[in-house]
Amino acid sequence: MTNKIIPTTEVDVQNLVKYFDVSAPWLSRVFSGQPKQILKAVDGISFKIQKGETFSLVGESGCGKSTIARLLVGLYEPTDGKIKIKGHDISNLDSPKALRTLRKNVQMIFQDPFASLNPRWHVKDIIAEPIRAHKTLSDNHAIDKRVNELLDLVSLTKVDGDKFPHEFSGGQRQRISIARALASKPEFIVCDEPTSALDVSVQAQILNLMVDLQKELGLTYLFISHNLAVVYHISDHVGVMYLGRLAEVRDSKSLFSNPLHPYTRLLLDTIPDLDMSGRDRMPVAGEVPNPIDPPKACRFHPRCPFANERCKTEMPLPTPVPGGYVECHGVQENRLPAYVPIVR
């Protein structure tokens, strides 16, 4: 989306792992003889985001997108693996240096602008909160001035600052959360389904605003969505997630013109055909399995039309392909049919 002169890595995620212990309490486990249950929400994920670009994560619910978001902003600590932001390791949240990097550079926008804004605060105080918390400005006059700049940046007015969140529509509330995210002048913003709760006409307003802000401020985005058309519109690079793994990571152009992983193709095929071309859709079978006991080896094999013996016994590792990499034996063995582009 931006002119990249010298690409510099803003975010570097290496072999990231996050497990949750979802066992019943210890005592009841002892009595009922149940084993410990570990949910592998994120299970070995690597990607890089260059400064000024938008990297999107797409996948069905429960595949681990929000967990990655929370790991990247320091709300969770990784079980294993590394996260570097601007070259600084932020994997260890006890390190003051990691916290400083996070506070200075990283902010997050959530899906639900209703839940993420304190209903009892004036909008101007909501927006000023990160400034006050991090003491980036101290005198009230300067803070007011900054808040007004931020309101202006997201196309709200000074008067709006004196209102409460409930006086605004969903789209306007998302503008407020964007203004709050920008208050501490972060360079990297994690956006977890920022438009999923909005109507399409409002979604267009927010996506346009995000693109404008990225250009103006040189922001780097991690954009999370389950909507492939939105991802197509906004991304430079895309990672397709399935049950805690990245099935395919490609530049946007390669991914959408020649998707390689069978799951990516399945997702693309579920998109309703707004061009009304009358194309036949591949009937898609099955649902995403339980992440507590995911399928062994390739996690997609129970739903994959190209699964063979190897897929059921051996975990596929990243294979380089044009524009990125894919985790699939079928692709690596070059035995999948060529992609038939959807005529549009």
């Binding site: 069905e60 519109h233 995403v288």
Partner: protein, 323 residues
């Protein structure tokens, strides 16, 4: 057109509030033919669910039908006593909601739900009803139906639960099904499966379906005709291909242009500025006038009704032939 199955005539739905009466659905009229799928699309708050609940007799207080009438098989149903409406719902009119758990009681097995509904509406004994229930579960694509019959709703995935709700809705072979955002809570791959199932059910059982959604893609895949609602009114109604490819109302035009489509490259999306008005602040004249790029003098004073606009009907003065 064959004899209409459903006729909605000048229907208005209002709420009594401290600040007086608020009209949420304002004088809408449309018909549905037997077996057709009518999509109802619009942003949240446009009045879609209220319209659906008026048709199923599930309108909740303080909402009430202020004026107009609803004719089903040429019989008025908007003023039926509660008990008669309850019988009609289930027997001739089925309902499917966004959250399948609103239709399923967690304390009862899936089989119990089906058998009870079947025996309420059809002259069948327990054993016959069970056979019918298992046939329905098979029909809606639930594997191992005998085993699933004995299980509780929480043992089903979201997609499988919605299949059970569909089985419940079709068990008495209704003529009309009102489906309010039936796939909104589901993942995309499951959504495609459920839409396909709804379409098959409509074809095979000859049921008309009113498919309420905020997602134009769902409509494009499934509906025969579509009604676009805005601020409690129908902005445009017509054959689905015409409305999507050749929208006639400036609101529909804006809506279609705002949807990102794979393969259509654009740095910015077309956007309609502003937001849909709140019920207590609906502008006079055309309610879309503050956001309309084609607004002209008359739009501020006169409220347009649906008028012919190519293959569709649109509530917009641009299509006034006497202009």
């Amino acid at each position: 057109m064959t004899e209409a199955l459903l006729k909605v005539e000048n229907l208005s739905i209002a709420f009594k509030s401290r600040h007086g009466e608020l009209t949420a659905v304002d004088n809408i009229s449309f018909e549905m033919a037997p077996g057709e799928i009518l999509g109802v699309v619009g942003e949240s708050g446009a009045g879609k669910s209220l319209t659906g609940s008026a048709l199923t007799g599930l309108l909740e207080k303080p909402g009430f039908i202020k004026s107009g009438q609803i004719l089903f098989e040429n019989r008025r149903i908007d003023n039926l006593p509660y008990e008669q409406m309850r019988r009609l719902r289930g027997l001739k009119i089925g309902a499917i909601f966004q959250d399948p758990l609103t239709s399923l009681n967690p304390l009862y097995t899936v089989g119990f739900h089906l058998v009870e509904t079947i025996m309420t509406h059809l002259p069948m004994n327990q054993a016959k009803a069970k056979d019918h229930a298992i046939r329905l579960l098979t029909e809606v694509g639930i594997p191992a139906p005998e085993k699933r019959f004995e299980q509780y709703p929480h043992q089903f995935s979201g997609g499988m639960r919605q299949r059970v709700v569909i089985a419940l809705a079709i068990c008495a072979n209704p003529k009309l099904i009102i489906a309010d955002e039936p796939t909104t809570a589901l993942d995309v791959s499951v959504q495609a499966q459920i839409l396909r199932l709804l379409k098959t059910m409509s074809k095979e059982h000859g049921a008309a379906i009113m498919l309420i959604t905020h997602d134009m893609g769902v409509i494009a895949e499934t509906a025969d005709r579509v009604s676009v609602m805005y601020a409690g009114r129908i902005a445009e109604i017509g054959p689905v291909a015409s409305v999507i490819k050749n929208p006639q109302h400036p609101y529909t035009q804006g809506l279609m242009a705002a949807i990102p489509i794979i393969g259509h490259q654009a740095e910015r999306l077309a956007q309609i500025d502003g937001a849909m008005p709140r019920l207590n602040a609906i502008p006079t004249g055309c309610s879309f006038n503050p956001r309309c790029p084609k607004v002209f003098e008359r739009c501020y004073h006169d409220r347009p009704d649906l008028m012919t606009a190519q293959d569709s009907l649109a509530a917009c003065w641009l299509h006034d032939k006497t202009r």
